[in-house]
Amino acid sequence: MSNSPSLGEVLDSQGFSRRDFLRFCTAAASVMALPASIAPTMAEALAATRRPSVIWLSFQECTGCTEALTRSAAPSIESLIFNFISLDYHHTLQAAAGDAAEHAREQAEEANAGQYLVLVDGSVPTRAHCSTIAGISNLDMLKTSAANAAAIINIGTCSAYGGLPMAEPNPTGAVPVGEIITDKPIVNVPGCPPMPLAITGVIAHYLTLGQLPPTDHLGRPLAFFGENIHDRCYRRPFYDRGQFAESFDDEGARKGWCLYKLGCKAPVTYNACANLKWNQGTSFPIQSGHGCLGCSEPRFWDAGGFYESVARGRFETGSKLGLAAAGGAAAGAAAAVLAQRKKKRLAAEHAEQDSDAH
């Protein structure tokens, strides 16, 4: 890595202007809630930085996370991420395959021991032969690559919290990365997929300040996951006024009222979708008329139906409560019968005592 060109040199060679670079740094600083004055410092630091080696491991995933980062509709600041890092291994994107690809990974890990970043998308199966790359199980590859990594960034909900592969009945015994690797700094950037700017923002923070950003109790960077979507949602005033869409084609839906009753999970979902939005700030799911699925939260596949509102109980309603009612009635009737018998017995005893006395 020490012989590689600095970021500034790379960007110059690729025709990026300093204005573009500063614009990225300003945006990254602002979304990470850093002071605006840090943007020039960030730009200087990034420009002088040697591109760090990054090993991107894709396990049980759908490629959506990589798609989110690379499939921008137009060149964007997110696309600059590939100029900030030396992406030495990403088997979906790289041209090399087979032994050559694996050799590149091993070489990068050896040459940059203790300094490279491991980015993981996809959960890790713990059952044998569920998912392998070049004959190496995901579990072994993760342990090997993480052993000499400086830090791990989990890209997407699957690597952060298990995601879809870990949903019940979890046939592959999938677990999140954090359950396997416990001795390395880890940041989770969840989402299905995660917001591209959150990914680049975390990497930029690491490159600029030399440390991972502060996180919440679920390991998510606070700058992007510090507030729930409901609090930042533009439909919030309709929630406060009690104006809700009752179905996806009723008057409320057409008028853009709150989607809470249609299962929107925004009140319990922490992400930056409502602020940053997707596709160059064009829109986000709620704006397009569908409730939030809560994709950046653990167990979002198992934590309730997508179209059940947050307030609804999660249990079968009929049978057990019906049985409980029948059981309660039976217990009450039995108690009354026993009390009646006791009353009659006492009355009879009393009458007997009375007749004996007379």
Binding site: Y239, P267, S309, V310, R312, G313, A331, A333
Partner: protein, 216 residues
């Protein structure tokens, strides 16, 4: 399983089961205990009717007590009506009931729900202060204070959850649901059963008094 999942799932489910079993057990256990017939000649031919009338007439104190009981009567009315409006008027509560029964109706704006919630909590506070300041009037026992706490907690946690105050929303929501669970479990075995008993006890008193010719 997160705290919210536990609250929305097994906790509220089992508390509803205990509530259902408990209420029916106590209602039937008492109502099936029929009283022996009073063979004396009724002094009022319309005794039964007057007994049923008592269910409503005792909703307000008798004239001679109006002034003396004005405070607790008014505050109790504010509490009961506000709580009723909060329980059945706030959208998340309606959603919960809809999920349980399929019944739905329009909800109130949040500000109105919060307003009634504050009134309910404030009136509850006024009532406990009065209870504490006049121990000879109320003869309270431990159960009364447990009941007060278990009624106040859902109101308090509900307001905090509404305002996102003090903790993350999902934590407050979970605490709110868990406090309701505790209330549901306590309900059938406490004086909160007056929600059902008041009808029967008033009617029974009215019938007995009318039978004896007492002015009611």
């Amino acid at each position: 399983m997160s705290l919210l999942e536990f609250a929305r799932g097994p906790a509220i489910h089992w508390s509803l089961i205990i509530l259902t079993v408990g209420i029916l057990w106590r209602l039937l256990g008492v109502l099936a205990l029929t009283r022996g017939a009073d063979l004396s000649r009724p002094r009022d031919a319309f005794g039964n009717f007057k007994g049923y009338r008592t269910v409503f007439s005792r909703s307000w104190p008798a004239g001679e007590f109006t002034t003396a009981t004005m405070f607790q009567t008014s505050v109790a009315y504010v509490f009961h009506l506000s709580t009723l409006i909060v329980v059945f008027g706030v959208t998340p509560h309606i959603e919960f009931i809809t999920g349980l029964t399929g019944w739905a109706w329009p909800g109130l704006p949040n500000a109105v729900g919060v307003g009634f919630g504050v009134m309910a909590l404030g009136s509850l506070l006024a009532m406990i202060l009065r209870r504490l300041s006049k121990p000879a009037v109320y003869c309270s026992n431990t159960g009364d204070f447990i009941t007060w706490v278990l009624v106040a907690l859902p109101l308090l946690t509900g307001l905090l959850a509404f305002g996102h105050l003090g903790a993350r929303y999902e934590t407050l929501l979970a605490l709110h649901i868990l406090s309701v669970c505790a209330l549901f479990i306590w309900f059938p075995f406490s004086k909160l059963m007056h929600a059902f008993w008041f009808v029967f006890s008033r009617a029974q008193s009215g019938i007995v008094y009318a039978h004896k010719g007492v002015r009611i």
